[in-house]
């Protein structure tokens, strides 16, 4: 049930990302709703194999984008695996981890894409890229992550209520 909920959430977030969120830009940056849902899900879910959802999210992003599908698939899966490992060590402060993961996740995913475009010869001014894409995207993600976390937490609570020790 938890896995199915995650798949549905990720798919819905992908559709919303493509149709609405990508149009709500700050300069050339936009929030990454799929990333935010993924990070929030890792925080609220008791599922252990989060990287599978990361892989699914990456594949969906890759299939709807002009960037080769394996780049987002690898980065989203690797990022999810990374925050899962970190979460097991500092699980007491989920909000701090949520914000840190969103910050570094945005930079990691955009950074890998920039590297790919640079390798393939697309002319990019790195200072301009940082100013008009990365920085606004980070800001939008940091603003949007808390409401997304609240919503995903509520959905998770209703989907699989935690057992209470009596």
């Amino acid at each position: 049930m938890a896995g199915l909920t995650a798949v549905v959430l990720i798919t819905i977030s992908m559709v919303l990302q493509n149709s609405i969120v990508v149009r709500l830009q700050m300069l050339e940056g936009a929030a990454d709703l799929v990333l935010l849902v993924l990070v929030s899900w890792v925080m609220v879910s008791e599922h252990k194999q989060h990287w599978q959802f990361g892989l699914l999210a990456g594949l969906l992003v890759g299939l709807s984008s002009a960037i080769p599908w394996w780049i987002p698939a690898l980065t989203y899966a690797g990022f999810t695996l990374g925050i899962t490992l970190v979460q097991r060590r500092i699980w007491q402060v989920p909000i701090w981890l949520l914000l840190t993961a969103t910050f570094f996740g945005t930079i990691l995913i955009l950074g890998v894409e920039i590297f790919y475009l640079w390798v393939t010869g697309v002319p990019l001014d790195l200072v301009e890229v940082f100013n008009v894409v990365i920085l606004p995207s980070v800001v939008l993600n940091m603003i949007a992550v808390l409401p997304v976390y609240g919503l995903v937490g509520e959905i998770a609570k209703r989907s699989f209520p935690r057992e209470v020790e009596v």
């Binding site: 992908m14 990302q17 493509n18 149709s19 990508v22 149009r23 830009q25 300069l27 050339e28 940056g29 936009a30 990454d32 799929v34 992003v61 709807s64 984008s65 002009a66 960037i67 955009l110 894409e113 920039i114 475009l117 393939t120 697309v122 002319p123 990019l124 001014d125 301009e128 890229v129 008009v132 894409v133 995207s137």
Partner: protein, 283 residues
């Protein structure tokens, strides 16, 4: 016999009184009396009617209230339905306006055959300027076909599936289009950027370019048909030390608000790569 005579005289007297009253009424001598009588009757009738209506309203009020509420709900539903219809019609009007503009564009470029397509979504990655349209190989769309909007060039088909196609916009940082600047008839290369700004590069240093000049596709390179409007020169940059001039371009099409586009289906791009000699090491 005596009684009969007295009744006759009474009848005659009454008849004479009635005739007299009629004569007086026709002569207008009884109007004041008539007004008084009629006014009193009307007042009494009005008094009675008002009381009766009040009683009837009080008696029927609960059923009327229910009926009025039902009618109100029905009317509200009707209003909501009409508002939806108005919104639908407004959307249809804007679509018709857009399609009219596209039709006018197509009429102006008679040598091209077009297929209209709706933009389904934009590329979710911020570095890439692509859109996905709702026609694909089943509709005869091939990779490389040019895509235009009502005012001018939009981009070219980059990849195709059975029911959809991905279009690389001219603003994509990896996009380059050979263009011609009018009226000087100078060739240049149109480049996209990460900020969605368009610029011209490789303009000869001796060419005279001014703000407001038109930029059209040149057809060189075989990727686009010639004479499709791209935009206007916004500003020109040149320096004494550089070999070429650069210019900023104001695109003719608002690429951030693409809803419907036209694919030029009778244009086959020419692959010029085999004609370019390979440069091997040592040469």
């Amino acid at each position: 016999m005596k009684i009969r005579n007295s009744q006759r005289w009474i009848s005659i007297a009454l008849g004479l009184v009635v005739v007299g009253i009629l004569v007086l009424a026709l002569g207008g001598y009884l109007s004041a009396v008539g007004d008084f009588v009629l006014g009193s009757v009307l007042q009494a009738q009005e008094w009675l009617t008002v009381r009766f209506q009040t009683f009837q309203d009080f008696y029927n009020a609960p059923t009327d209230l229910v009926r009025l509420r039902q009618e109100n709900a029905e009317l509200q539903a009707e209003v909501a339905k009409l508002q939806t219809e108005v919104i639908d019609l407004q959307q249809q009007v804007s679509e018709v306006e857009l399609l009219t503009a596209l039709l006018e564009f197509a009429r102006g470029q008679r040598e091209n055959e077009y297929m209209a397509a709706s933009v389904v979504f934009r590329d979710p990655r911020p570095f890439l300027k692509y859109v996905v349209i709702d026609v694909g190989s089943d509709d005869g769309i091939l990779a490389g076909m040019p895509v235009v909007g009502p005012e001018g060039l939009v981009g070219r088909v980059d990849a195709v599936t059975a029911n959809a196609a991905r279009v690389q916009l001219v603003t994509d940082p990896d996009s380059s289009v050979n263009v011609r600047i009018q009226p000087s008839d100078t060739t240049a290369v149109l480049l996209g950027s990460i900020t969605s700004d368009l610029s011209l590069d490789l303009i000869p240093i001796d060419a005279t370019i001014n703000a407001g000049d038109l930029v059209l596709t040149s057809g060189l390179g075989g990727n686009f048909p010639a004479n499709i409007l791209v935009g206007q020169v916004a500003s020109v940059r040149s320096s004494a030390t550089s070999l070429f001039q650069q210019a900023a371009i104001q695109p003719a099409v608002d690429l951030n608000r693409l809803d419907i586009v036209l694919v030029v289906v009778n244009f086959q791009p020419i692959d010029t790569e085999p004609l370019i000699p390979e440069i091997t090491e040592g040469q």
